[in-house]
Amino acid sequence: MLNSIHSCMKCGTCTGSCPSGRVVSFRTRQLVEEHCLGEIDLDDIAIWYCTTCYNCMERCPRNIDITDDILRIREEAYKQGKVLPQHKDIMSYIYRTGHAVPINEEIKDLRESLGLSRIPPTTHKFEEALGIVRLLLEEGGFNDK
């Protein structure tokens, strides 16, 4: 997957195109190079700065799949349990409700006042469907602990 990284000519288009790189010390080219050399630090918060806007990947003159590579770096971090608690919370919400952003009482009232169903016709309403989502998560090794 990372073979293509060897064709990088270090032009810096990726770093210059990054919306996060403008506000924090996040250097896309450096990250991808470190990954290529096997020198990546999975504890470095920088791997979570990517908004997945795809600018770097679309503009790369060597057609390196940079955004996809960053996602794979994060996957390695996840496997080693190196994730942000906020992100783990989102996984827990999906496990418990089927939704990364679950409904609340205030929104139920708002839905009703708009003439929408109080509970949307999603896993919020269909328990059996939520059960399948949970099975898939459990099979994938995620437990809500």
Binding site: R22, I45, W48, V101, A129, L135
Partner: protein, 271 residues
């Protein structure tokens, strides 16, 4: 091809945080003769920023379960959210292109009692309106031309990755501007028009200060606009938090141009 009939994918943010967008979208589609059928039991797409970062294989299987609901209904899937589109469109294309992945996903779903044969097509509502439904047919429904200057925001996943999107031009796209302008509004130019809102990739949930700083810079570059118009509830929520002018979802703008009253739409903005 579709006959303007779809399995309607709600996602999380619209039904669970911004239901006025769901309301406007249902009303507008009704006026346009686009039939939306609820996808009973659909879940989170799942969230591309977190789930695709953590475990791509699991991301694909959860997405496939949503696609399976649409397939069983016999309709292609349509979504109102760039994030859901990013997940469901990309997952559908990967499954169509990679037989091995498809058979692995089928095997998993079958084991859980779900049959999955053909991968449905996935549309973003805004993309569908422009590329399939057509501007001319929308124009016929507009009875209240809007005299507004609009700062258009596309959002990243409506345009990229380009290989799985309808518009080939991600640098200077035009189609969403055209959709906005048929309402009578004028799309104004601004320096950071193509900049990301900063919410995606788990950045808003993980590092909110960084995320909002990106949004602030974007919004600060908008001059002379009455409102911002988005095709995505996540960008919408993000920009709204840092903007002094109202943020509207596209179907809310279109609903106003169709003369649907603000109180019916649950819209409290002054324009």
């Amino acid at each position: 091809m579709t006959n303007d009939e779809f399995a309607f994918f709600l996602g999380c943010l619209i039904p669970n945080r911004l239901p006025a967008i769901e309301k406007a979208s249902r009303l507008v589609c009704d006026k346009l003769g686009i039939r939306l059928y609820d996808m009973d039991g659909a879940s989170c797409c799942p969230a591309p920023g977190v789930m695709k970062s953590f475990d791509k294989n699991l991301w694909l299987k959860l997405a496939a379960r949503n696609l399976q609901i649409s397939e069983k209904m016999g309709y292609d899937l349509i979504t109102m959210c760039n994030g859901c589109y990013g997940t469901l469109k990309d997952a559908s294309m990967e499954l169509k292109e990679d037989k091995e992945k498809l058979s692995d996903v089928k095997e998993t779903l079958n084991r859980l009692g779900l049959s999955f044969e053909n991968v449905p097509n996935v549309y973003h509502l805004v993309e569908y309106l422009y590329f399939d439904y057509g501007l001319d047919r929308i124009r016929e429904t507009i009875t209240n031309k809007l005299n507004l200057n609009v700062a258009v925001h596309y959002g990243c996943h409506l345009l990229k990755p380009v290989k799985y999107r309808r518009s080939e031009n991600f640098e200077v796209p035009q189609f969403f501007d055209e959709l906005v302008e048929i309402t009578g509004a004028k799309s104004i130019n601004y320096p950071e028009k193509s900049t990301c809102c900063g919410a995606g990739g788990g950045v808003r949930s993980g590092m909110k200060d960084v995320s909002l700083e990106i949004a602030k810079r974007k919004v600060a570059s908008i001059k002379g606009a009455d409102c911002i118009v988005t095709p995505c509830p996540f960008c919408h929520m993000q920009l709204e938090q840092v903007s002094n002018i109202p943020v509207l979802y596209y179907t809310q703008l279109l609903a106003l141009a169709m003369d649907i009253p603000k109180d019916v739409l649950g819209l409290e903005v002054e324009l």
